[in-house]
């Protein structure tokens, strides 16, 4: 944010007091973030289709735009904006309308604490990591609202599954990041990234075996948290028709869709920042093109998630809960214990 305010005051010659700086800087940052995120989500829909096509020995979109259907997302957006917006007669209208908005907001808010590059963070708050988990849980409310308000049994089942799954998987997700917080001694996202300077073995994921397992737990849980295959229980198009958004059409459906991709990118960005050294290069202490390095890592993680989605069959809902409560949570607690002991023994513990 400092960069933005600097830019505003120095380049555009705006005279701003502290509050003005905060407001103008914040608004500009929010605008940039929202635009970037929405664009990313749209680009990801295209990327997912191309990667899926590559995996499935077909082409994916090829017609719109000159190069490999590059303008397909734009065409999709135009189409989806022109679609009829249907609200079922028996739906609970206020909730029905509100649900996609809540989910979309819940997928926008966490971006405020994602550190893309030194100084390039919308809000450098001390509780960054905590804030991210807190606001992204709002999506659960949205999913429940969508499922309930649709007045459709499939949607209700999707919502119930979604709520159970997201509430459950938030636990290993958060537990897996606690060893990192202990090592860094801070919840501030910037501090977490800076604490990983000095090459690949200073990155949290590769620092010690416990943290590596924690990273794996985080990665698996994050796929479940964003409801993607093989954990796409709330949708399961072959079982629940389309899950909680069965009754949604047009732009409202697009909001669900976009927030799914925004969340996909978000969890990858968080994994990058918390476990994979953020903008730090694998060797040396130098900071070179930090934003690009950060994005490269996040994109790699997204691609892996797409790869997993198109490779694995889907779990059954009870097996999903089994994985969470009987495997991931005990494992993450063990990691917590293990890395705590390691910190004490090595004397690295933050006082």
């Amino acid at each position: 944010m400092e960069i933005i305010t600097k830019l505003l005051t120095e380049t555009f010659g705006l005279q701003l007091d502290n509050t003005g700086q905060l407001v103008a800087g914040g608004l500009t940052m929010a605008l940039i973030m929202a635009l970037v995120m929405a664009t990313c989500a749209i680009v990801w829909t295209w990327a997912e289709r191309k990667v899926a096509g590559f995996i499935q020995s077909r082409y994916g979109p090829m017609r719109v735009g000159k190069y490999h259907g590059a303008l397909q997302p734009v065409a999709d957006m135009v189409k989806i904006l022109g679609k009829e917006d249907i609200i079922p007669d028996d739906a609970d209208k206020p909730l029905f309308v509100l649900a996609p908005i809540i989910i979309f907001i819940a997928s926008l808010l966490p971006w405020a604490a994602v550190p893309f590059a030194p100084g390039f963070i919308a809000s450098d708050m001390d509780l960054g990591l905590f804030y991210i988990f807190a606001v992204s849980s709002g999506a659960i409310v949205g999913i429940l609202m969508a499922g309930w308000a649709s007045n459709n049994k499939w949607a209700l089942y999707g919502a119930a599954r979604g709520a159970a799954q997201m509430v459950s998987y938030e636990i290993p997700l958060a537990l897996a990041t606690i060893p990192v917080v202990m090592r860094t001694g801070s919840l501030n996202m910037n501090d977490i990234v800076i604490g990983q300077q000095g090459g690949i073995f200073h990155w949290n994921a590769f620092h010690d075996p416990f943290l590596f397992v924690a990273f794996m737990i985080y990665f698996i849980s994050s796929i479940a948290e964003v409801n993607r295959g093989p954990f796409d229980m709330p949708e399961t198009e072959s079982e629940l028709v389309a899950g909680y958004h069965t009754e949604y059409t047009g732009m409202r459906f697009a909001l669900f869709f976009l927030s799914e991709y925004a969340n996909l990118f978000l969890v990858s960005c968080i994994a990058t920042a918390v476990f994979l050294g953020g903008w730090n290069l694998p060797v040396g202490n130098a900071v070179v093109l930090p934003g690009l390095v950060f994005l490269a890592k996040a994109v790699l993680l997204v691609l892996i998630q797409i790869w997993i989605r198109w490779t694995l069959p889907r779990l059954r809902v009870d097996q999903l809960m089994h994985v969470c409560w009987k495997v991931l949570i005990p494992l993450s607690l063990l990691c917590l214990l293990g890395s705590g002991i390691l910190l004490m023994v090595s004397g690295e513990i933050a006082a």
Binding site: Y157, S238, E239, R316
Partner: protein, 567 residues
């Protein structure tokens, strides 16, 4: 067929056997309705007739006892079959045998639906193919074929559960006191996993299916009624629409059933080509079944690995062979419609190799995949005995560990000359059903290669003017040819009066055609015995107590093709 069974029945029941008949090698005994359960029980217990293949009604309006109900029984152990007949007067009823053979439940419902024959003590005697508000009985000869009925109200199956099930109350569910916790959900008729139009009404406790009831008939297109209104040859394109995934198989088995009734045998080359295209169809059917099943389980990518192969076979082999992909209409009574095209052998070999690569890829993705195994192993288990009682045949029966394959058991079209194995499963669960199909594709490929080796030039149709159409030169060049063509097309093949049950190994099990001819050019009765029908009748029982996701996976693995199920 088996003279031994007839003798045994004669010695056991003596004068209760009204008459014994042999038509085209099929033995049948006529028994009075009241002694039917005793006869069937005896056959099942003493003569190891494990399976009731089908129950078939035939209407003879001129007789006093106008309806004849045929019970086709099979002993897999003794490789014998027998047809037990019962004659029923209009308005009279006969005792049900659904307590002896579970497959009789749906089969009797069908006879009731289409002919109005009532079965005493049947547990659930409702219409099955026709709409529940339908008036009259569609297959009676006095029901006019043009008479349509406008019916719109959906059937409330859940009321039926309470009414017909009688004892079912929510509080019988273990650990569940509150009846309001159970939710009724319709899976289908339009649902992504039903692959056709079926409806399964389930009563859910959370995600667990407490009670299930399925309804079929959404795709009923009156195949059998239409067949009675067409000549034997005109029925051929209709058979394409039974199991539309493997229509070649339907064509070939239908043709060979009518040939059985005619008492003719097609030339060697036609037989080999029939075997080759049948096995190609079987491969296509298995590819589609497995890939769709995997999509139901959530493994989407496998779909394209298999579907690309299927489309390759369709575009490069089936379409050049007969001009269309799905509705092949390839076989003819007495032979085939076309000979093979140039380069057929190379095209087949190319696609078989591609198929083997694809099977390896898909097996690699699923065979040791933990999620796949968790989803399929020990899910939807059916024991061999139950499967036999329900009338299972084909891969679903073999998955339970019994190696019943019509191609080995009662070879037709020269299958006895081919070397191939019959893969079997162990547990009869979803995984076994998938893996049996995988292995069968390799075996089919081997049969196709052997068939191509055997191919020698020769005629592809019988040289018999009363069965096969004359060659085009003769039609355009001579008056006899024109007359011959005209008679065969307008009057149909004059199949001698009699009845025959012709059957073969369809992709999904035993596909049979029960043909009754009265000597005119049109079938008096043509009953299809679709493999799906008995298989699906067990579905409710299999899925009760499992979860929705399991039900979907099982539905895919038993490969229900609605076109064949509903006819």
């Amino acid at each position: 067929m088996s003279q031994k069974l007839v003798d045994s029945l004669k010695s056991e029941f003596g004068d209760k056997i009204v008459s014994v008949n042999n038509s085209c090698g099929d033995e049948s005994v006529l028994v009075p309705g009241d002694s039917l359960p005793a006869v069937l029980k005896y056959l099942k217990e003493s003569e190891s007739c494990e399976q009731l293949t089908d129950v078939i009604g035939v209407d003879y309006p001129e007789r006093t006892e106008r309806f004849e109900v045929n019970y086709l029984l099979r002993s897999i152990a003794n490789k014998s079959r027998i047809n037990v007949k019962v004659a029923v007067e209009e308005g009279m009823d006969i005792p049900t045998v659904s307590d002896i053979y579970k497959s009789a439940n749906w089969a009797e419902r069908e006879v009731f639906d289409l002919y109005g024959v009532k079965f005493r003590n049947h547990p659930d005697l409702r219409r099955i193919l026709c709409h529940h508000e339908f008036e009259g009985h569609a297959l009676r000869k006095d029901y006019p074929i043009e008479q349509g009925q406008f019916l719109s109200t959906p059937e409330k199956l859940i009321d039926d559960i309470e009414y017909h099930g009688g004892a079912f109350r929510a509080d019988e569910v273990e650990g569940e006191d509150n009846p309001f916790d159970l939710l009724n959900v319709n899976i289908g008729p339009s649902h992504p996993a039903t692959h056709g139009a079926l409806r399964i009404e389930v009563q859910l406790d959370g995600e667990t299916i407490v009670k299930a009831k399925s309804e079929i008939g959404y795709l009923h297109r009156c195949f059998e009624k239409e067949a009675e209104d067409h000549t034997w040859s005109q029925v051929m394109p209709y058979t394409d629409r039974l199991n539309y995934v493997s229509s070649m198989l339907n064509n070939c088995i239908y043709a060979s059933s009518v040939e059985k009734l005619l008492g003719v045998e097609v030339p060697q080359r036609a037989q080999i080509i029939r075997v080759i295209v049948s096995e190609l169809s079987r491969i296509i059917d298995h590819l589609v079944c497995i890939c769709a099943n995997l999509v139901d389980i959530g493994a989407l990518t496998n779909y394209w690995y298999f579907y690309n192969i299927r489309e390759g076979i369709y575009y490069d082999i089936i379409e050049p062979l007969c001009g269309s992909r799905l509705t092949t209409n390839f076989a003819r009574i007495g032979g085939l419609s076309h000979d093979l095209f140039d380069g057929f052998e190379d095209a087949v070999e190319k696609h078989l190799q591609k198929m083997e690569v694809a099977i390896k890829e898909v097996t690699g993705l699923i065979a040791r995949n933990r999620i796949f195994l968790d989803r399929t192993v020990d899910v939807g288990v059916l024991t061999t005995d139950e499967a036999l009682s329900y009338g299972y045949t084909g891969p679903c029966l073999r998955a339970t560990g019994l190696d019943y394959d019509v191609r080995k058991h009662a070879p037709y079209s020269g299958y006895e000359d081919y070397k191939f194995d019959v893969p079997i499963g162990e547990n009869g669960d979803t995984r076994d059903r998938i893996m049996v199909r995988m292995e069968e594709m390799y075996q089919s490929a081997s049969i196709i290669r052997q068939g191509i080796q055997k191919l020698t030039p020769g005629p592809i149709a019988l040289d018999n003017a009363s069965v096969s159409l004359p060659p085009k030169e003769s039609v355009y060049g001579s008056i006899e040819g024109v007359m011959n063509q005209f008679k065969l097309i307008s009057e149909g093949i004059k199949v001698p009066a009699g009845e025959a049950y012709g059957y073969g190994e369809g992709a999904n099990g035993e596909l049979g055609f029960f043909c009754v001819s009265d000597g005119t050019g049109q079938p008096h009765r043509l009953k299809v015995r679709p493999p799906c029908f008995p298989i699906f009748s067990a579905f409710d029982e299999i899925i009760e107590g499992l979860m929705i996701a399991d039900a979907i996976a099982i539905l895919g693995s038993i490969n229900i093709i609605a076109g064949e199920l509903d006819r």
